[in-house]
Symmetry: C2
Subunit: 350 residues, 2 copies
Amino acid sequence: MDTDDLGKDRVPRKRRKMQRITMADVAKLAKVSPSTVSLYLRKPDAVSPAAGREIARAIDHLGYVPNLVAGGLAAASSRVVSIIVPSIRNAFFAETVSALQAELTSEGLQVLLGHTEYDKEQEEALVRTALSWAPAAIVLTGLSHSRDTRKLLKAGGIPVLEMWELGGDPLDMAVGFLHPRVGASAAEHLLSKRRRNLAFLGARMQEDHRAAQRAEGFEEACRKGQAASWSVINHPGAATVEAGAILLNRSLQQNPQLDGIACSNDWIALGILFECQRLGVAIPDAISVVGFGDLDFSASCIPSLTTIRPSGDLIGKEAARLILSRIRAAAPPLPAIIDTGHVLIERCSS
Amino acid sequence: MDTDDLGKDRVPRKRRKMQRITMADVAKLAKVSPSTVSLYLRKPDAVSPAAGREIARAIDHLGYVPNLVAGGLAAASSRVVSIIVPSIRNAFFAETVSALQAELTSEGLQVLLGHTEYDKEQEEALVRTALSWAPAAIVLTGLSHSRDTRKLLKAGGIPVLEMWELGGDPLDMAVGFLHPRVGASAAEHLLSKRRRNLAFLGARMQEDHRAAQRAEGFEEACRKGQAASWSVINHPGAATVEAGAILLNRSLQQNPQLDGIACSNDWIALGILFECQRLGVAIPDAISVVGFGDLDFSASCIPSLTTIRPSGDLIGKEAARLILSRIRAAAPPLPAIIDTGHVLIERCSS
DNA sequence: TCATTTCATCGTAGCGCTAAGATGCTCGAA
DNA sequence: TTCGAGCATCTTAGCGCTACGATGAAATGA
């Protein structure tokens, strides 16, 4: 049939013809209206069992996949939680993200991930795009953000959760612990082992200000305790096993009396263990070592590592709990702050 | 009559009054039409410099944040790439995701993350939700998926990329390497070191079938080479340092002649290093060890680890490259397959 | 000179869904 | 019989944006 002849009547614009199966198709097949399908999908109990069965059958038959983009637009909020961490390669954040995601996924929420590489401007850009998705919530790492980031988030009216750090002034919710206390615990432990010449060895502390906070807490405890000498040494690169070896050599050079080391994380501690083995320095006889993180290897290495466990997993779980309760209940924005604390695990390296 | 009718029901429905700043607000302030603003945002070169300046100023002044949800709906495709990996805690995938994301973010694409925990049904559920977002592309790990997953993806009409594995029949694009070849390389290397009683120690191989493939390649090479004896031992739990210790003890018990070990990854290898130190077994004199992964610590541990580097980073970069070219060019769906290969790095443990 | 092309800009119809309010329908009470 | 209440279901108006096609002005050609 030649439709061109009838071309004078209003031709519907050619539009990208998504052949996708829509809710209307399901509705037609189930012999109900689209809104009943929508209702069924959101609150199955609100439709009659008979209609529900029909709809379920139609969905199954057609292989219907709801379009969450359209849903998000209509509902002015999407089933997405945006998580922004410094780096997903970092075992700490990988653990937290993993736990958080497991909890959120089971509630039908998706995770939109971003990493800042410890760059505040990058973070701001990520927050901006995250907001473009009208997420159900935004999770950030730490309490320190650029002024514009704070402004964006305050204007956004979206639940915000800051994790892995406490002690400052959270935008909304916060789950984490006090990093200065971690540094202090390490120092106090070393002092209790009659170590008097201490050092805090950290990496990337110019950017990772949580590590810097641990160093500060360490120094503070040294000052208050009976330490004879103490210092903080930073390696500008990433916190790796190699960095640990470099840091150990620098610190021994600086103070041959050194007998107690706290590390900004367990990778560095492991590097120190290896380097001491290489140098013939006995651990813990000559030097006690305390790590941070309680990573996978910390219990199994030689000697096993005394370390401080921050519970990245618990942070993720608690964060998920707060977010879910906020999303469900639309609770008033009372600042919910959860301190997950830290635990010093004494093993053979101290 | 008409006027009566009009008069009485002109009550506009109360609607969630999003106070959000929209493109129309920007357009009004910049004294252009909304579509010009949209055009400017998508193709800045297509509008006149003068109009562009005005629009940019208006955006800045209002603090306008585009609504990507609406954009995605209108354009029938969102600026999101969905990445599904077994576990983000695994350093391999963390590395790849990180690289992939860095590349995609710089092109304005977001990453929607999911993890399957090596469960095919979980993967199917994730693919389903991923499709609900009408993503610009979907990235999966491995070539092996449930039948429904394959069906969903083929029907989706969305670019699909499978990574970290080659050798099978990809759905669309694939970036990875041949795992059997990795196992074979390890075996050949051990044989070249005059090791004759070999073992492949792996973890979670009932689920991680890429590790199982490496084991198969290892056995195949043993069979073809001059190996006197060989075996494959699996630890059902996760691939950790602890698992390495357990596996070493089991394999020594099984074959005290053992003089060459290949591991399904470097964590296990590290566990073997520690356990050998504990048992007083000299590496590489008594036993040669080859790992897989070339992780952070592999060059620095004692002895430094001979290992096979799979280049998770490169996989991520190449994957991003393929996806971007596909999105931009809407190229015909010729299967693009990239082999990133692997490199054996000889160090002191063999 | 007028027709044609080029270019920036505009008007507007959806994209697929949600949610407020409207509409029936059934049932019990008046 | 009438009236509401209670409930399932439907109608409809957007959500904010993109992309198609139209418009009008300037540039070019014959």
